[in-house]
Amino acid sequence: MDMKRNYYEDVQLFRSGVVVFWFVLFMAALAVFPLVAKNYYVYVVNYICINIIVVLGLNILVGYTGQISLGHAGFFAIGAYGTIILMTKAHLPFIIALPLGGLVAAVFGFLVGIPALRLEGPYLAIATLGFGLTVTQVIGRTDFFGGRQGLHAPPLTIGPWHLNTDKEFYYLLITLTVLLTLAARNLIKTKVGRAFIAIRDADIAAETMGVNLVFYKTLAFAVSAFYAGVGGGLYAFVLRFIEPEVFNLFMSVMFLAMVVVGGLGSIMGSIAGATLLAWLDLQLRNIVAIPYLGEWLETFSKTYMTLTGMSNIQFIVFGLIMVLIMVFEPLGIFGMWIRTKIYWKTWPF
């Protein structure tokens, strides 16, 4: 046994120079990307980044702590409205309003977490579903929040910088996404994350080892809601205009789908799942643009479905991809990655 074992190795982010190299290269690519890409693709990446932030938080709750939430669109909405209202009504700068919006969502997460202490599985799913639906109803019926008309996002400035185009906003989003990813990853590797995983795997054993279930379960909800809230606050500036209908049940389900497709209990999986499904969500809207296949799908849809049937096809393809991923790899994209790694380790045997 080597006596000078380096215990930090176990929790180290970059275990070798190769990993550092790829990370730096990836960061550099991200930095150059908006300079060479079309505006639309920058918008796509922005959209993906927001999904990544929310899915990271949701994975902490669902994947790591083993709780479920079908109401994350609610936290997302609270973050979006909170940030905008703090900026327009309280005249706070964005840089303070965004984390405060996240904290407001976290407080609601904590409150939702309290009944969650007594609920499990399907019961918790329904309770959080109710929360998500309530939030949009309350927002949609309150004039202070703009009611059904919605709210316009104010112009965005941070110190000397004005971030009012997608490309300018891109740099802020990438920075925040990388920071929040690192934070989530560190959290999981240290005391709090271990307590979360312990609660998921064997809650009674965790309790007898000194983990306070009440505290850590509500904390998981609060952290998860914070991520959703920050994501929501940023989303408000991608859309520039928010209305209650945006934050519907479908959105909550999509977030959950991204977690499951990416891989439960995996940071890289969260990123992969959010990237894939958010990208598909946007791409499949222009399904006609795909050469040959798009045309064929359009005729198929118009012959056998409704005349305006393109939206049917796009959801069917979307659903089909999700079903296939689940059937062939229940651990999601992360599971595929692990399998590929193991395969190449022993290749060609």
Binding site: Y7, A183, N186, D201, A205, E207
Partner: protein, 288 residues
Amino acid sequence: MIEALSGEGSFVCLRISTGREVKSLMPFFKVENLAISFGGLRALNDISFEIAQGEIYAIIGPNGAGKTTLFNCINGIYRPDRGKVWFKGEPVLGKKPDRVARMGIARTFQNIELFNNMNTMDNIMLGRHLYLKTGLFHGAFMWGRRSFAGKEEIRHRRKVEEIIDLLDLHAVRDKFVGGLPYGTQKVIELGRALALEPELLLLDEPCAGMNSEEKQDMIFWIKDIQDELGVTILLIEHDMNMVMDISDRILAINFGSPITEGTPEDVRKHPDVLKAYLGEEEDIGYAA
């Protein structure tokens, strides 16, 4: 200085702090008239016993006698109907399991309750939960080995490595525990409980399902934990040879009620214990 003076029984424990004041005349650990029923079933009925500091105390009894129920009551997983439990002069009952752990009582489980998707290291690290000071923010901003969270991780991982050394778990240090052999999982559970640095260790059938070699190791470690770490041990076990071998005193229970208490020799010979384990000799009419 804490001193354990033996009185008439071996269980009168006197704690003297620096000779100035006699802090308490309470025994180290004491269970008083503990009773719990589930519906109409009396799972425990007036169980009382005391344990002196540094002792290995065993509870034996046939299946369904209420041994694990007793542990669950002490731990705060169940709420007993009646009775009191004292640990170092403080009441234990009514506390939640994590509060009981905070008092210095750790346990293992009969049906292994490990965190299957963590490796051995992290499983035992969870035992350090109460000692780690990393909070949400320090944890999230662990920027390197010099950061607060980094230092905490290093410090406690070193501690855990000592336990891995002690229990000879190097081979499985970085493996996920879910796929490990049963005997190894039992040892990891013991390690996790030890990481809590308990003063009282509750072991629920530590040797169940082990082969004889693993059993020998386990017995060796339990004795080691008592001798070198000075941990008091409360033990449930089915393997009579093992119990007789390592326990200082034994309490036999059946159907939730105590049968007898005493040294291994006394308990072994007690007719009611034999009856509980081997069954009663029945008077069969046509026996010659």
